[in-house]
C-alpha cells in the first residue's frame, strides 16, 4: 500500500514537473499556435518544427534556395564567441541572401545593413526544435522610418513566412 501511494506521489510530481517545464518554455518562447497570428506586431516569426535539428536545417536550406535566396553560411549561434570545441551545436544560425533584393534595399537606405544578412535561428529545446527569425517588416518599422523600404520589407516578410512554413511542414 505504501509503495502504491509512493508511486502515485512520484508520478504526480513528475507530471507537474513536465507540465511546468512545457509551460515555462512556452511562456519564454511565446510560441503562437501559428506564427502568422502575430505577423503584424511580433518582432519575430516562430515555428515549431516536427523534425530533428539537422533535418530542419536541411529543410531550411532547401526552402531558402527554393525562394530565390542563396545560403551563405551556417554556424553555431556562439561561433567566434567561444572556443570551437565549446560551441553549442543545438543553437544554430542559417544566413542567406538574395543579392538583387539586397542591392535594391541598400540603394534605398544604407541603414538596412544593421538587419543583414537574412537569417533564421534553429534552436533545440527539451520539447522540440524551434525555428525563429526576425520579422523584417516589424523590426524595420521600429528602427528605420523610411516608407520607401516598406515594399521590400513586405516581400521579405512573405519570403520568410514561406521559408519557415515549407521547412516545418
Amino acid at each position: 500500500m505504501y509503495e502504491v501511494k509512493n508511486l502515485i506521489k512520484v508520478s504526480a510530481v513528475a507530471f507537474w514537473r513536465i507540465a511546468l517545464r512545457a509551460l515555462l518554455f512556452s511562456i519564454a518562447l511565446g510560441v503562437p499556435s501559428s506564427f502568422a497570428d502575430d505577423i503584424d506586431t511580433s518582432p519575430v516569426l516562430v515555428a515549431k518544427s516536427p523534425y530533428g535539428l539537422e533535418q530542419t536545417i536541411a529543410n531550411l536550406k532547401a526552402a531558402a534556395e527554393g525562394n530565390n535566396f542563396r545560403v551563405i553560411r551556417e554556424q553555431s549561434l556562439d561561433y567566434g564567441l567561444v572556443d570551437n570545441e565549446d560551441e553549442n551545436r543545438s543553437q544554430r544560425i542559417l544566413y542567406f541572401c538574395n543579392f538583387d533584393m539586397l542591392h535594391e534595399a541598400l540603394a534605398v537606405d544604407k541603414r538596412v545593413g544593421v538587419f543583414l544578412p537574412c537569417q533564421v535561428n534553429v534552436i533545440e529545446l527539451d520539447d522540440g526544435v524551434y525555428v525563429i527569425a526576425p520579422n523584417p517588416k516589424v523590426i524595420s518599422m521600429a528602427y528605420i522610418d523610411n516608407s520607401e523600404l516598406a515594399p521590400a520589407c513586405s516581400r521579405l516578410q512573405d519570403a520568410y513566412n514561406a521559408i519557415l512554413e515549407e521547412a516545418t511542414l
Binding site: 515555462l24 511562456i27 538583387d100 537569417q119 522610418d145
Partner: protein, 158 residues
C-alpha cells in the same frame, strides 16, 4: 529532491511571469547609434576590432557585403558587418528570452559614404518595446552603453 526541482521551476515561472508585466520604457529614443570615423576604412576596421575586445566582448567575424555584391556584378563601396558578442549573454537569453536569440550576435556596420567612414548599430534599447521584461531591458541598456563606447573609441583618433 524532485520537490526541490519542482519548487525551482515554480520560482522560474513566477519570475518570468512577474517580469513579463514590467512597464516598457519610452519609445521615442533614437533608433540608431552612429559615429563617423576620422580614419580611413582599413584603420577604422582595425580600431573597431580593438574597441570591441577592449570593452569585454569577443569579435566573431566580418561579413563582407560589398565583396558578395561585387561578385554578382554590383559596383559598391566598402560595406561590412562586424559581428561580436558575449557568450554569457547568449546563455542568459537562451534561458530567459529565447525569442531574442535572432538578435545575436550584436552587429556594427561599417561603410563608406563619400569621403566619410560611417559606423552604425541598431540601438538595442529599441527592442524594449517588444521585450519589456526588466532583466532584458537592463541588458539592452548595458549593450547600448557598450556599443556607444565602442563606436566612440573606433571612430576617434588618439
Amino acid at each position: 529532491m524532485r520537490l526541490r526541482a519542482l519548487l525551482q521551476d515554480f520560482a522560474k515561472l513566477a519570475l518570468v511571469a512577474l517580469l513579463s508585466v514590467s512597464p516598457a520604457p519610452r519609445a521615442d529614443e533614437p533608433s540608431m547609434l552612429r559615429a563617423v570615423s576620422t580614419e580611413p576604412y582599413p584603420e577604422t576596421m582595425m580600431r573597431l576590432q580593438s574597441a570591441i575586445e577592449a570593452n569585454g566582448y569577443r569579435f566573431s567575424r566580418v561579413q563582407r557585403v560589398d565583396y558578395g555584391l561585387r561578385r554578382r556584378g554590383y559596383d559598391v563601396p566598402p560595406y561590412r558587418i562586424v559581428f561580436f558578442g558575449n557568450p554569457a549573454d547568449v546563455r542568459f537569453l537562451s534561458v530567459v528570452q529565447p525569442q531574442l536569440l535572432p538578435f545575436l550576435p550584436l552587429k556594427i556596420i561599417v561603410y563608406e559614404d563619400g569621403e566619410k567612414v560611417v559606423l552604425l548599430a541598431a540601438d538595442p534599447t529599441r527592442l524594449a518595446q517588444f521585450f519589456p521584461a526588466s532583466n532584458t531591458v537592463a541588458l539592452f541598456n548595458v549593450w547600448r552603453r557598450d556599443i556607444e563606447k565602442i563606436l566612440r573609441q573606433a571612430s576617434q583618433s588618439e
